[in-house]
Symmetry: C2
Amino acid sequence: MSIATGFVGLGAMGRGMCRNLYRGGLLRSVWNRTAERAREFAAEFPVDVAGDPAALASACDVVVTCVSADEDVLEIVAALQPGLQPGTLVVDCSTVSADTARTAATLLARHGVQFLDAPVSGGIEGARNGTLAIMVGGPEQAFEQARPVLAAMGSTVTWFGPCGAGQAAKAVNQIMCAGIIQAVAEAMAFAKAEGLPLDALIETLGKGAGSSWYFVHRAPNMVRGEYPPGFRVRLHEKDLRICQHMAARHGVKLPVVETTLRQYGQLVEQGHGDEDISTIFRLKDALFAVQDASGKDTRRS
Amino acid sequence: MSIATGFVGLGAMGRGMCRNLYRGGLLRSVWNRTAERAREFAAEFPVDVAGDPAALASACDVVVTCVSADEDVLEIVAALQPGLQPGTLVVDCSTVSADTARTAATLLARHGVQFLDAPVSGGIEGARNGTLAIMVGGPEQAFEQARPVLAAMGSTVTWFGPCGAGQAAKAVNQIMCAGIIQAVAEAMAFAKAEGLPLDALIETLGKGAGSSWYFVHRAPNMVRGEYPPGFRVRLHEKDLRICQHMAARHGVKLPVVETTLRQYGQLVEQGHGDEDISTIFRLKDALFAVQDASGKDTRRS
């Protein structure tokens, strides 16, 4: 017996995830704020386009949402409500704060509807290939109920605890990405200033204990000076604001997060907000360029 | 025709490297400041123990040195000199500054002796197993001449350019290690404060784009609160001072390096200098502990 699944939010990620739900025989209905996109999707994959979120909700056992920001999640949850029946399950794959997840869960609980926060990582490629990592928070029994739906979209599906735990796990990942891109960019700027052969360096150090996914996959961007997304600065900036907010609830400022947000602000101002986050190399490289141009030759003297 | 190789510096790294030179049929003679260690080694592997560095130098085609600090390298080079003949090659596997490498090279060049800086990474295990990454700077023809010796000790042997380039490449690696351990420790402290199941987190995020060698291999230390070396704080601190010195030649302070050195200073003061660098988690964790204890419960409220 397949689970009738509705999908809200056909952005770059959503479309890929939706395709995999369709292929898994789970997709009943879609809705998107810009209706054109939903019609385009339905033209390719014969699926019902709902007139509004409530209509979608009333036809489905599970509703998956994948939108951009905290306010979008709460807005969609409100719009779903008139159509939701007790026992329906809402699974939100957006990256938002754990607070927003808990607010959504509380609103829905009044109607006998359970909520899972289930942010994903793995990018557009992971969404398309069904190889996302999905980090889930919420009632464990609801997680088990949603598992076939989650398994159609991701290859690593993990329950982390009560509502908000999925968002917390995703935040941990985004903090690491920030610190690592700082490390890689700073190290590569130093390497360039030292006149090292950068491709050979990536090849050698990529095998060692100082290596990381970002070093192997994104340091080559820094060598070429090209930063195709990838993971856009603006999106990581949004995610790091969530981390900042979550850390603030503990009364803590995370240095890696604060530093990276400051630098992303500069990059956005300079017009690099839609480049891959490896563009942060521009700032580190400029540090050396200014200094090395300011007089003495500091290389191999 | 095998290359008669002498080895100076039978520390934890040196002993492993020396064993692999012996097995490769290359080891002619050893010398160590604390003579007892050289005798111990010779008791296990029948090899000549030189009376002093000059005697070792006069019996060998290639002299490999592996000592602790910049001043040790220059001292050993001076002590080798009376025995060195034109055409002999000195290969220094210590991690020191590129400046020290260039000074040593200049001193030796006066005697017709070539010098390679060839710092290693891969730790004691890599030294024992012959799987070190060796990063080499110096005349390319000298590198080719030393290749059989290097290949006996490491599995990745790369020439990076003129004298100092090996040390520069190693410095790049140490900068990355600093930034990554910061990222991993900060993310794990946040994860703990959020009450996430940490083993499941390492398992899931370890497969994703936020992953790194340090996350997979050292985040478990942070979960257990045990920090066996590994890579000792004191040693990384020494290496980061070299990075600091090299960056200062460009007029640049590297934020990741400065921050990490400050924190290592605290850790050494607290008596954790001989623990693995993942012990930096103590400082990040304390940040949350202080705040979360100071009143309101900030978890899942």
